[in-house]
């Protein structure tokens, strides 16, 4: 494996983490948007706040990670994507600003502005994954020339990019619903668990249908990736994704929380790696290969070292945050073991 390939794998790890975890955050925003009004809607929003509150910023840092690895290790691809797909990317960036600000501030703002801020958060949570999806779809459709400056509009408004955009929103909503089922179940709110369970099932059906449309679109507009996904090793990952997706549905209707999140994450991650396998050896199918886009070798080595350093520091920190944020349910334990003189 060349250092360019290692960097591509690192990039793809970042893409996976961003797509799955930030995707779930966006999906939660979709459910927030659809929650409506009233007492139950507020409980739904409360659960969404509790679920994504502690981790949303960390989840979204993966996007920065992806951008930085892309422009450092594969500057040519970064420049080609940015100079072609600047419209959906600028709109995605707009969505990120509105979503981040809307989520961060919706409760802190004065009363009359809270509802619009919530609405902004919800709408931006739909728009951002949609435009991100059109970017991925445009790349898969081969609409980004290696030299950049592809058509700024037709490149991302074809069948495949638009279908991918819709699919991204639906899959995000599905993943989020599963996470929220698990979290409300773990929180002991059975009614809320049922609420999200119904939505997870509905999202699964709709996302499944959209995936079929996506495959048709891929067959029509992204033949290289389609062929890769329907032959070894791409097909194996597609099958793995289907198994994970079905497992999640079985766990869901049987009322189990254990393994639910892992199954949903597995379903998403397997497709993302299926795409990687299918597009290989291209970073922009079929105009620019991974090795062709790779930067200077010392830079690639630096990226690999930085990634290892990041893994060694960030992962333990994330675990610490996760443990700490879950400690609410372990009050007795924590007061017995260390909070000898609780402040306040």
């Amino acid at each position: 494996m060349s250092s360019a390939d290692v960097c591509a794998v690192i990039l793809w790890i970042g893409v996976t983490l961003y797509a799955v975890f930030a995707g779930a955050d966006f999906g939660a925003g979709v459910w927030d948007l659809l929650a409506g009004r009233g007492e139950r809607a507020e409980r739904v929003r409360g659960q969404i706040d509790r679920s994504i509150g502690p981790v949303w910023e960390a989840n979204h840092v993966w996007l920065i990670f992806v951008l930085v690895v892309l422009w450092t290790a594969f500057a040519e691809a970064f420049s080609a994507i940015m100079s072609t797909l600047y419209i959906p990317l600028a709109l995605a960036a707009l969505g990120i600003v509105l979503r981040g600000a809307g989520f961060a501030f919706r409760h802190a703002l004065p009363g009359p502005v809270q509802r619009p801020a919530t609405r902004v958060f919800g709408l931006a949570s739909v728009l951002t994954p949609f435009f991100m999806g059109t970017v991925v779809g445009a790349i898969a459709a081969g609409q980004v020339p290696a030299a950049g400056d592809g058509d700024p509009t037709t490149s991302w408004t074809g069948f495949l990019p638009l279908a991918t955009g819709v699919l991204f929103v639906l899959v995000a909503a599905y993943t989020a619903a599963i996470f929220l089922v698990r979290d409300s179940g773990a929180g002991g709110d059975e009614e809320l668990r049922d609420y999200f369970e119904r939505r997870a099932l509905a999202a699964a059906v709709v996302a499944g249908a959209a995936a079929v449309v996506g495959v048709i679109a891929l067959h029509a507009d992204g033949r290289y990736v389609y062929d890769g996904l329907t032959s070894w090793p791409g097909i194996a990952l597609v099958i793995l994704s289907a198994i994970c997706g079905l497992a999640a549905l079985v766990l869901l209707v049987s009322g189990r929380n254990y393994g639910l999140r892992a199954a949903a994450v597995g379903a998403g991650a397997a497709v993302i790696w299926g795409y990687y396998a299918a597009a290989f050896p291209y970073i922009l199918p079929t105009s620019l290969s991974i090795s062709g886009a790779a930067g200077a070798s010392a830079t690639l080595t630096a990226v690999i070292i930085v990634f290892v350093a990041a893994a060694l520091t960030v992962i333990p920190s994330l675990i610490l945050l996760y443990v700490l944020s879950q400690r609410r349910t372990l009050d007795a334990y924590s007061s017995a073991s260390e909070a000898t003189s609780p402040r306040q």
Binding site: E57, H60, V61, F65, M82, L94, I96, G100, A104, A296
Partner: protein, 465 residues
């Protein structure tokens, strides 16, 4: 409106639009970045003081500050994400050619940013869940990542001023990148220390100014005193060091980036015994209306009136920085305000040395109340000097900004939308901080989702439902 259409089609206008867009978003983000770098230290100092002296007011301050840090970090994360899009959206040619040299520092910055995001959340969650010692320990990674992140970004920026650590092949592509030479280029040292101290000064004077206003309004309790003294002391310590570092930086720029130096000092004719002009309009080869001190510029550069200083006449016309008057006055404003802040720090130090208290005259607090805004003005001016002074280059001597810009149309529109959006964001952030501070004053208990990363208050949502 019809006038806009030919403008939009004009490529030099595109460059101006892209520069405006980048300048505005960076100028906005740089304030939040400073707060992200330096505010956590203030918060940690307050908590440390609180535990050491068993001072509940200091602990309350630290806890409230941690919420302000979270709000500001949330805004800064958003504006920072926008910047990483803009590198590609506005300057794709630059990233294409130099991404593998320029990008390394950002890869490192990514780790620090990540750790800062995680540990801010840990710190906020930790108030109720960790022992005092463990809790204070979780603030240390925040402080360190702030410094490390600043170093990485400044290394990238200083590389644009003093590019090195790579070769160019015949096609002009970057090869043989030497990451250490990229990161530790000749400008990294002074640029980093200058910016690092600026972050502590901006944050310190800004927070102190909030409490100075509070005290002027009669809130002279222990909470406000501590809220003033802690950040002011940090900023006061940074001020004299900053004068020294800034002076060193200016001399290094005279040596390494003579075009920038000539632009910011308005030196048209090369030679020794250069006059130092304070203020004025730089036009037609001379400085009009400024105060000229004969020989001082040469003394500042080389400690003697016989020091030769390169003027704009030695720089080819199309390599000269634009907007000399802006550049010159931005530089003078930065130096002037910085010196003023230093004198304010001296006043504070003398009073503290004599009476163990800050000066009790209202005028001291009044000046402190505007010192925060003053520090931000100095910061923005310094940043204008660095960035505008490097023009017409994006990578000094290697790539012109005009060759880096995207041909994409419609940047003026994006710029307009961005301005509106950022003004909204700024107003929102200030509104939220003010609402928080009102609640703290009135002793309203914490509410769910009051701040971006906070745990549910009272360990349950029943209370707020």
């Amino acid at each position: 409106m019809p006038n806009l259409v030919p403008l939009l089609a004009d490529s030099s206008s595109n460059l101006l639009a892209a520069r405006n867009q980048m300048g505005f978003t960076l100028g906005f983000h740089i304030v939040l970045a400073c707060l992200g770098v330096a505010f956590p230290l203030m918060m940690l100092l307050a908590e440390w003081h609180g535990h050491r002296k068993n001072d509940q007011e200091a602990l309350r301050l630290a806890r409230n500050w941690s919420k302000a840090v979270a709000v500001l970090f949330a805004v800064g994360a958003v504006t920072g994400t926008v910047l990483s899009f803009e590198f590609g959206l506005l300057w794709p040619r630059f990233m294409d050619r130099f991404g593998d040299a320029f990008g390394i520092a950002f890869a490192i910055e990514g780790i620090f940013f990540f750790l800062e995001a995680i540990f801010i959340a840990i710190y906020i969650y930790g108030w109720e869940r960790l022992t005092p010692r463990a809790h204070m320990l979780t603030a240390i990674p925040i402080v360190i990542s702030g410094i490390g992140g600043a170093f990485s970004v400044i290394a990238a920026n200083s590389w644009m001023n003093q590019p090195q650590g790579f070769d160019l092949d015949s096609a002009g592509n970057v090869t043989h990148v030497k990451p250490f030479e990229v990161l530790f280029n000749p400008a990294t040292g002074y640029e980093f220390f200058h910016m690092f101290l600026a972050a502590y000064m901006v944050t310190g004077f800004l927070i102190a100014s909030v409490y100075a206003v509070g005290m002027l309004r009669g809130r002279r309790d222990r909470y406000h005193r501590l809220g003033f003294i802690i950040p002011f002391t940090v900023a006061a310590i940074a001020s004299p060091i900053q004068l020294f570092v800034g002076d060193t930086a200016a001399r290094a720029i005279a040596d390494d980036q003579p075009a920038k130096f000539a632009g910011m000092e308005c030196i048209y004719k090369s030679g020794d015994d250069q006059t130092e002009y304070i203020g004025g309009i730089c036009k037609d080869g001379e400085v009009k209306g400024g105060i000229g001190i004969p020989g001082l510029d040469s003394i500042l550069v080389g400690f003697s009136t016989s020091t030769y200083v390169k003027g704009l006449d030695q720089i080819p016309p199309n390599d000269r920085p634009p907007a000399n008057t802006l550049l010159h006055n931005a530089f003078d404003t930065m130096v002037g305000v910085g010196t003023g802040l230093f004198l304010l720090a001296v006043w504070f130090a003398i009073s503290w040395w004599r009476r163990r208290d800050f000066p009790q005259t209202k005028w001291f607090l009044r000046i402190c109340a505007v010192a925060g805004v003053g520090a931000i003005i100095a910061l923005e001016c310094g940043w204008i000097v660095t960035e505008v002074g490097r023009q017409p280059w994006i990578v000094n001597g290697f790539m012109r900004t005009s060759d880096a810009v995207t041909p994409a149309q419609g940047i003026w529109w994006v710029y307009g939308v961005t301005m509106a959006l950022y003004i909204g964001l700024g107003v929102t952030a200030v509104t939220v901080l003010r609402a928080l501070s009102r609640r703290w004053r009135e002793g309203v208990p914490e509410e769910a989702g009051e701040i971006p990363y906070g745990p549910p208050p009272g360990e349950g949502s029943e209370a707020s439902a």
